[in-house]
C-alpha cells in the first residue's frame, strides 16, 4: 500500500530536516519527501519521480498542524513474555508501544526463562512475528540466568538476534564478572547495558532515601546505591575500552560521573525515564504503590540534574523502563508491592509537557533522544525519515491536550502514577514499515 503523509511539519534530526513536507511511502519505505513551500505549492526543485502523482493513487494520512517524526524507539521495555503473561505479552506490550507512538522496542531479558540462550531469543522473535504491532529487538542476558556468575553465550545470542546485553533488574554484583563481560563484548563491540544498583546498599529499600522516606517510615535507597555502581562500571569501561550504556539514570551524582567520563573519552552513554524527569519522591506521600519503582523517584535536585544532563547531552536517550504489573500485585501494602511503572502509553506526552512545553529541551533534541540516539547505541538501521529508510513514522499533535485514562491503556500493566494528569503532545498516528498501526489512540 502507498501512503502520503500530508501537510505535516516533518522533523527528522538524523537528516537535519525541519520543514513542511509530504512524505510518500511505498513498499514499506520512504519513497520521497516532498517539501511544501510557504505559499502551499510543491517545491519542484526537488526531484520528483513519475510515480509521485499523489492525490488519486495513494491513501492519505492527514497531518496538517501535526509533527511528523521518525518512529520513536524505546530501548528499555519489559514485555514479560515468556513467563509473566499476566503482566504483559509481546502482543499487548507492542500494542501499548504503538499507542504510545513507538515503532521499535528493545525488550529486557528478565523473563522466565531468562533470555540467556538462543532458544528463548528465537521464541521471542517468533512471537513478535506472529503477534507484535511494532519491531521487537531482544536484549539478552549478560550472565547465565542473570545470576551474575558466568557469561552467557554472547556470540550465539548476537547471531540469534540480540542487540545488546543486560542483566537489568539483577545487576552484576561481581566486579570481575562485569569486567569480563565488558571485555568479551569487544568481540563485536556489543553494547552492555548496566542496571547500576549496589544491592547490599539498596538492601530492603522501598523508595528514595531522604526526607520523605523518613516521614513515611519506608526504608530508603540512597543515591550512592546507584552512583557507586555507575562509577565502577565507568572505570571498567575505561579499562576495557568497551561500550557501556547506563540504564535509567536517576541521581545528580550519576549524571556528574557520566559527564566527567564522557569528557575523558570513555565510551559511555545513558538513558533516563519520563517518570524520573517528571516526578519526585514526594509523590510517594499517600503510599500509592504506583509510585514504587526502581530506581526510585528521587529528590527535586536530582530531577533538575537529569534535566540538565539531557540538555547538555550527557544523557542521550529517553527510555520508558516500561514495567507492567497486574493490579492485584500492586494492590497491597507499599512494602510488598513489586517495583515498576507501566510507561509506554504516557511517555511522549509526559516528556512533551515537561520538556518541550516548558522550553527545557527543543523539539529536535527530544526527538533525537527518542529516535536517532537509541538507534545508534543499539546499531539499528532506524530512526530517520531519509528516502530509502524504513517507513517507521510517528505523527504527534502538539496541541492535543487530554487527560491520562489508565483504563484505556492497551498494556496489561495499568500501574501508572499518572492517572488523571492532563498532558499535551500526544501521538495521533503510528506507522510501522508503511503499515498504519495506530490512529487517534486506537490500535488498527
Amino acid at each position: 500500500m502507498r501512503w502520503l503523509v500530508k501537510g505535516g511539519r516533518v522533523v527528522d534530526p538524523a537528516s537535519g530536516i525541519d520543514q513542511a513536507a509530504d512524505i510518500l511511502i511505498e513498499e514499506g519505505k520512504i519513497a520521497a519527501l516532498i517539501p511544501v513551500l510557504k505559499d502551499g505549492s510543491k517545491d519542484h526543485s526537488e526531484p520528483m519521480t513519475e510515480e509521485i502523482n499523489p492525490e488519486n493513487t495513494v491513501a492519505i494520512l492527514k497531518a496538517k498542524g501535526k509533527l511528523v517524526v521518525p518512529g520513536l524507539i524505546d530501548m528499555h521495555v519489559h514485555l514479560r513474555e515468556p513467563g509473566f503473561e499476566r503482566k504483559e505479552t509481546i502482543a499487548t506490550g507492542t500494542r501499548a508501544a504503538a499507542r504510545g507512538g513507538f515503532t521499535s522496542v528493545a525488550c529486557m531479558p528478565n523473563t522466565k526463562p531468562v533470555a540467556d540462550n538462543r532458544s528463548v531469543l528465537e521464541f521471542i522473535q517468533r512471537q513478535a512475528q506472529l503477534t507484535a504491532k511494532v519491531h521487537v529487538y531482544p536484549i539478552a542476558a549478560i550472565t547465565k540466568g542473570s545470576r551474575g556468575e558466568e557469561l552467557s553465550e554472547m556470540g550465539d545470542l548476537i547471531a540469534g538476534g540480540a542487540v545488546a546485553f543486560s542483566d537489568d533488574g539483577r545487576p552484576v554484583m561481581n566486579t570481575r564478572v562485569m569486567r569480563l563481560a565488558l571485555e568479551y563484548a569487544r568481540i563485536g563491540d556489543w553494547p552492555i547495558i548496566s542496571h547500576c544498583e549496589d544491592l547490599n546498599l539498596a538492601a530492603e529499600g522501598q523508595m528514595n532515601e531522604g526526607y520523605w522516606s523518613m516521614l513515611l517510615g519506608l526504608q530508603g535507597i540512597p543515591n550512592t546505591a546507584e552512583e557507586t555502581m555507575v562509577a565502577r562500571d565507568i572505570m571498567l569501561a575505561e579499562m576495557t575500552g568497551a561500550r557501556l550504556h547506563i540504564a535509567h539514570v536517576s541521581t545528580a551524582g550519576s549524571v556528574q560521573l557520566i559527564r566527567e567520563a564522557k569528557s575523558r573519552g570513555v565510551r559511555v552513554s545513558a538513558e533516563v525515564t519520563p517518570h524520573h524527569l517528571v516526578l519526585t519522591d514526594e509523590a510517594v506521600v499517600g503510599y500509592s504503590t504506583f509510585t514504587k519503582v526502581n530506581p526510585p523517584l528521587r529528590a527535586e535536585k536530582d530531577r533538575q540534574a537529569l534535566l540538565e544532563g539531557l540538555v547538555d547531552g550527557t544523557i542521550e536517550v529517553i527510555a520508558t523502563d516500561h514495567a507492567p504489573h497486574t493490579l492485584e500485585e500492586k494492590d497491597c501494602e507499599y512494602g510488598y508491592a513489586p517495583f515498576g511503572i507501566s510507561g509506554l502509553e504516557t511517555a511522549l506526552p509526559l516528556v512533551w509537557s515537561e520538556l518541550v512545553e516548558k522550553k527545557v529541551l527543543s523539539l529536535e533534541k527530544l526527538i533525537t533522544c527518542m529516535t536517532v540516539n537509541p538507534a545508534r547505541i543499539l546499531g539499528l538501521n532506524r530512526g530517520s525519515l531519509m528516502v530509502g529508510a524504513a517507513a517507521d513514522i510517528t505523527v504527534i499533535d502538539p496541541d492535543l491536550e487530554q487527560v491520562v485514562k489508565v483504563a484505556d491503556f492497551v498494556s496489561r500493566g495499568k500501574n501508572s502514577p499518572f492517572e488523571g494528569k492532563k498532558l499535551k503532545g500526544w501521538p495521533v498516528a503510528t506507522m510501522v514499515a508503511g503499515q498504519l498501526v495506530m490512529q487517534d489512540g486506537q490500535i488498527i
Partner: protein, 313 residues
C-alpha cells in the same frame, strides 16, 4: 464536639486543637477507670475490631479494654488464628471484617502505610495501632497525656527521645505531636539508627547521649529491637548499653524532676537500667493506665462525637 474525621492514621494529620481535645477528653475517661463499675453505655451497639498483624500485648489489650469500658463489643483477629496465614490478601481480610458490621478497626501491621491503605478500602473508622516504622499515634497521645499530667503542659519542655529513631514509629508520632504542642524535642542515638533529614521535622539531633540529656525535662527511652544488631546496625548490645543505655549516672545530667517514659516492653539492662526503670522519676506504669484512658477518649471522639459531659454524668 467530636473529631471531625473518619480515621486516626497519624499525629502528622492532627491539629494542636485536635490533640488538645483528645487529651482533655481522656481526663474524665481516666476517672471512669477509677470507679467501682467501669462500664459506661456510650458506645453500646458499636463494634470495635482489633486486626493485629504483629504481636502486641499492651496496645491490643489496652484498646480492647477501652472499647469494653465504653460499652462497645469487641472482636480480635490475630494473624496466627486467621485466614491471613492461608495467603488471603489484606484487602480481602479487610472487606470481610467490614461486612460483618464492624464500626472501627484498630490495625497493627509491620508495613508502613498499611493503615492508610486500610482506610482507603473500608468505610469503617481506622485507628492506626502502629504501622511499620511510620506512626503509632495512640502511643504518642498517651505519652503526651502522661507528660501533661505530670508537668501541666508542653511549652518550653525539653523532651529527649533516646534510641533507635530510624525504626521507631513511636518517635515519629511523638515528634509530630510534641512539636505541635510547643515542646523542644531532641533525638539521640547512633548515626546508623538515625533517619536522614530528621532535623527537618524541627528536632535537634545528637549522637552523644550526655550532650542530649543535659537539662532534659522528659526522657522517652525507645525499645531496642535486638534483631537490629544482627543486621549490623551497631556492633553489640553491650556497646549499645555502654554508649546509649540510660544509667543512673547519665540520669543526673537531666533536670532534677525529669520524667522517664518507655513505650514498653523494656529490655532492662540494655536501653534502660532497672534502677532507672523502677526509680521515682519513671512513669512507665502510669503510661499503661493512661493508655486505656486516651484510647477510650479517642474511640469516643471518633465514634460518638457528642459532648463528653454526657459520659461523666
Amino acid at each position: 464536639m467530636g473529631l471531625n474525621r473518619k480515621d486516626l492514621l497519624g499525629l502528622q494529620d492532627l491539629s494542636a486543637e485536635e490533640i488538645e481535645l483528645i487529651l482533655d477528653t481522656a481526663v474524665p475517661m481516666k476517672d471512669i477507670l477509677g470507679r467501682e463499675i467501669k462500664k459506661v453505655p456510650t458506645l453500646r451497639g458499636k463494634v470495635v475490631a482489633t486486626l493485629f498483624y504483629e504481636p502486641s500485648t499492651r496496645t491490643r489489650t489496652s484498646f480492647e479494654l477501652a472499647a469494653k469500658y465504653m460499652g462497645a463489643d469487641t472482636m480480635s483477629l490475630a494473624v496466627s488464628t486467621s485466614s491471613v496465614q492461608k495467603g488471603e490478601s489484606f484487602r480481602d481480610t479487610a472487606e470481610t471484617i467490614e461486612v460483618m458490621g464492624v464500626d472501627t478497626i484498630i490495625l497493627r501491621h509491620s508495613a508502613s502505610g498499611s493503615a492508610q491503605y486500610l482506610a482507603n478500602i473500608v468505610k469503617a473508622s481506622v485507628i492506626n495501632g502502629g504501622d511499620g516504622t511510620h506512626e503509632h499515634p495512640t502511643q504518642a497521645l498517651l505519652d503526651m497525656f502522661t507528660i501533661r499530667e505530670k508537668r501541666g503542659g508542653f511549652k518550653g519542655l525539653k523532651v529527649v527521645i533516646l534510641g533507635d529513631i530510624l525504626h521507631s514509629r513511636v518517635a515519629r508520632s511523638n515528634i509530630w505531636g510534641l512539636a505541635k504542642m510547643g515542646a523542644e524535642v531532641c533525638v539521640v542515638g547512633p548515626p546508623t539508627l538515625m533517619p536522614p533529614d530528621i532535623e527537618k521535622m524541627g528536632v535537634k539531633v545528637f549522637y552523644q547521649v550526655e550532650e542530649a540529656l543535659k537539662d532534659a525535662d522528659v526522657i522517652n527511652v525507645l525499645r531496642l529491637q535486638l534483631e537490629r544488631q544482627q543486621k549490623g546496625l551497631f556492633p553489640t548490645v553491650r556497646e549499645y548499653h555502654q554508649l546509649y543505655g540510660l544509667t543512673p549516672e547519665r540520669l543526673k545530667l537531666a533536670s532534677r524532676d525529669v520524667l522517664i517514659l518507655h513505650p514498653g516492653p523494656m529490655n532492662r539492662g540494655v536501653e534502660i537500667d532497672p534502677e532507672v526503670a523502677d526509680g521515682p522519676q519513671a512513669s512507665i506504669v502510669d503510661q499503661v493506665a493512661n493508655g486505656v484512658a486516651v484510647r477510650m477518649a479517642l474511640l469516643y471522639l471518633l465514634m460518638e462525637g457528642g459532648a463528653f459531659s454526657a459520659v461523666v454524668s
